[in-house]
Amino acid sequence: MQARIFVLAIAVIIQFLLELVAGRVFVAPSIVPFVLVYLSENYEKMWAIDGAFWSGICLDLLMHQPPGSSSLALLAGLYAAKAFSKLSSGEGKGYLLSMTVIAVLVSDTVFILLATRPLGSGFNSALLLVIPRVVLTVIIGALLLTVTEWISNMRSRKVTG
């Protein structure tokens, strides 16, 4: 459990650094929803709720965004991903990435609408930024899943000799 909390904390820090660096140049991939989807599907379901709330609060405090906006957005995104998983059936990388796409799409849209001032004024072409962000997240997610799969295959090969 502590290892998973540590992984989520690292994901939040990496997200913060990506927003500061890649976010200034273009858009940064959204790592946190991907990690939350992975943890909630492979471990306890509470990651989709508690993890979304606390990581959202941390991100808001780190990036000087309106407090509560990221946590609301992540909760909405994970809820939408969960609704998608109830409607569909599947497993494996493609399933996780599909849930991630839904989570990132919904969470970023909700965030833009909540965080812009005046409230709701983000309902314009700024929403188009969400699309490249989703694409980048899927690429990073696919890479991470492939690498972790390869590492676990290497380990199992070692054990079986």
């Binding site: 927003e19 976010g23 609060i57 000087h64 609301l72 809820y79 700024a126």
Partner: protein, 263 residues
């Protein structure tokens, strides 16, 4: 079987309760968060400094330590005042021809991430700041005050898509509207087809806008957007202000009209 069904129903209810609880907390933070964090943060900071920087048993050491800290603080304040004085000299040059009152302010922080660019300053209602006051820096026009709190205010920069500024170019004298795209790029739009705007022309606020006083430098023309269909020209503009590097600003309060004043 019945037991496991009851258990899963109970877990599901528990999850729903937690979900609703976190949504409620997030909404409360969104509405009341800035005020709560500001007050709590300053209280915690005071307790922390009391706990960490409290004195030792030796009164002489304590006194020396306090004196050193006092001198270091005064030194840094004086250095900061010297930098500010330079900037205020430039700003006063801008306001000398205007009858408005002005309030100097410092940018506390900028928002980051997907929605970036909103700036918060350290002056608010109790310092005389009003909504729709104009914000400038020593480099040029920064933006407009969008919301005012008791001790802080929020500035919408001109690179925000919701801010439109009526401008005129100099020396070509063409009128247009300065708008921003969602990526923060500035464009001067609705410029007459017959105008002779050249790259390098300055973009100044015009007297037709009603919000911004005229003559404030907003930016300079970098090029004309080609391929535009219509009866108006569109120019790309680079802002005069470095929004990432700006720290000190001046808030121009709305003009109070006096009956017998002439300009």
């Amino acid at each position: 079987m019945i037991t496991s069904g009851k258990k899963s129903t109970g877990r599901s209810e528990e999850k729903n309760r937690r979900f609703v609880l976190y949504i409620t907390i997030s909404l409360i933070l969104l509405i009341f968060g800035p005020a709560l964090l500001g007050g709590l943060g300053s209280w915690l900071g005071a307790r922390f400094s009391e706990a960490v920087f409290s004195g030792t048993n030796s009164p002489v050491e304590d006194k020396l330590r306090n004196d050193i800290m006092q001198l270091m603080l005064e030194n840094s304040i004086l250095r900061e005042e010297a930098v500010k004085a330079d900037q205020y000299r430039t700003l006063l040059g801008i306001t000398r021809t205007d009858n408005r009152d002005a309030v100097p302010a410092r940018i506390l922080y900028r928002s980051e991430g997907l929605v970036s660019g909103t700036m918060v300053i350290d002056q608010g209602r109790r310092d005389g700041i009003l909504e729709n006051s104009v914000c400038i820096s020593s480099e040029g026009l920064v933006g407009v005050v969008s919301s005012v709190g008791e001790t802080t205010s929020e500035i919408l920069p001109i690179t925000n898509p919701s801010v439109n500024v009526s401008c005129v170019t100099w020396p070509s004298g063409a009128y247009g509207i300065l708008q921003s795209t969602s990526s923060g790029e500035l464009n001067l739009v609705h410029v007459d087809l017959t105008s002779e705007v050249e790259p390098g022309d300055q973009v100044l606020t015009s007297r037709y806008g009603g919000v911004f006083p005229d003559g404030l430098l907003a930016g300079s023309v970098t090029g004309i957007s080609t391929g535009e269909v219509g009866l108006a020209l569109r120019f790309s503009v680079v802002s005069a202000v470095d929004f990432q590097g700006t720290g000190e600003v001046l808030i121009l309060l709305p003009e109070i009209s006096h009956g017998n004043d002439t300009q």
